[in-house]
Subunit: 278 residues, 2 copies
């Protein structure tokens, strides 16, 4: 069935509780959900896990860990503690992976190389925790517009280099159309990620033009922007990825709409713009 791999990332209906998001998935025939830690925390991990399990949904990812670029001892300790908590939550929720948004430059810093090095260092600190918990860490490169304040890792190539020292079942990468569509190396790097068995998550959403006044909200429903999804879908398929395909959209209009309407639009756009023609 054509929706068999579709997953609703909870951020797409940001105002929804876990219960509401689960209900919206069930109502629309969406078999998988990407959870966020904040709404999960509102009801507790055990209850969230039960809600998802009782509804028969898979958990394609937990968003998010990361923010690993602190340079001071307190900041480093806090980041490690938070990520260890996130790893435990991902385990308890049965999530396929824990998405890591690695963090930007610390306030006042211009040391991009240093921040990138600290991401590698913190990843090394966390890998054993992930392995012991049976949780896969999924490094997410973000669009370069967020390099300074969200993620100093901007390309799939960088994420693959960071992941390289570790087994692919412990450290994978996220392929996200919004973040990587412009990247001249994206097709080569998807193939490389596939060869290494590193694709932990495939996320789809469109890139809006003109860019809205808040660049964080530049994501749109598939079909509303400039991304040509079928070649990216085909590349991820050819790379051997068989996991869920998450729709994650940060967009003020989408957030303002009724949940069921958003999810049914998502389903329709996924069929029309993402899936190959039958």
């Amino acid at each position: 069935m054509t929706l068999s791999r579709l997953s609703l990332n909870q951020a797409t209906i940001k105002r929804a509780t876990v219960a509401e998001a689960v209900a919206a998935c069930v109502a629309a025939g969406v078999p998988s959900i990407g959870l966020w830690r904040e709404p999960v925390a509102e009801i507790g991990v055990a209850k969230a896990a039960a809600l998802v399990r009782d509804a028969g949904l898979r958990v394609s990812s937990l968003c998010r860990g990361g923010f690993l670029t602190a340079a001071d001892p307190n900041g480093i300790a806090a980041a490690l503690e938070d990520n260890r908590r996130a790893i435990a939550e991902a385990h308890d929720l049965g999530a396929d992976c824990l998405v890591l948004v690695v963090g930007g430059l610390p306030p006042g810093s211009r040391d991009l190389q240093g921040a990138r090095q600290r991401v590698a260092d913190r990843l090394a600190d966390l890998v054993d925790d992930a392995r012991h918990a049976g949780v896969r860490l999924a490094l997410e490169p973000l669009h370069p517009i967020y390099c300074a304040d969200r993620a100093v890792i901007s390309t799939l190539g960088q994420a693959l280099e960071l992941a390289a020292p570790y087994p692919p079942e412990v450290v994978g990468v996220v392929v996200d159309t919004f973040h990587s569509w412009w990247d001249p190396a994206v097709f080569d790097d998807i193939a490389r990620a596939g060869q290494q068995g590193r694709i932990a998550s495939f996320q789809v959403c469109d890139f809006l033009v003109p860019v809205p006044s808040d660049v964080l909200l530049a994501r749109g429903m598939m079909g509303d922007g400039v991304i040509d999804f079928p070649p990216l879908y085909a590349a991820v398929e050819a790379a051997g990825y068989t996991g869920d395909i998450e729709v994650e959209i940060f967009n003020a209009d989408v957030w303002a709409a009724p949940f069921d309407q958003v999810v049914s639009t998502m389903v329709e756009r996924y069929r029309r713009h993402v899936l190959p023609a039958p």
Copy 2:
């Protein structure tokens, strides 16, 4: 003298006429100017050339040609005609190079690979014109946030690949800190560009965080953003570039300020943030 390579890109004082921009350079001891075609057209190329020459300024660049991604015959013909005019203007102004902003996706198109191929095709069409005019074309990769609507070439690496078939004195590349600071390959690609003798222009300006509501105006005076200039300056130096260093800032506050004040701030920030410590 420390300002001996500094150039004011005219867009930094966008409201200024050529005469006003020339006067501001002279008053501040800035020996070079990057001209824009629109203000040059207001007084005519001959008069602009005379103004600059009489003031003893160099012309570090002419901005801009490009917008080469049209797919329809009329659009292609119009782009070629406009770029041939720009090449002639660059020759008449004695500009060190003609900066090419290659253009985004045509309206309604999602075919990024096709647009990139058409840039290569149009470049092939224009190279002989540039060679005959003795004008160097300078391919400018823009930040990936502008990939859809301004430039489908996002990295120095892509620009170098496009330039590769042609002699370096005919097709070079622009190193712009704002556009390339995030690029994990930027230092390697600056070195590669230097080895090939391809660096046609070095432009400096800062990347502001948070990104302003209009992403076109996210540039700031050196020191106001997140870019660490000395390593990039050193890399361009080590790559053998001895040309002018242009300051090009698109910023509403900078545009609103008196020209002389902008130029004197530029000089001060260039000394403090860009030049190596004496």
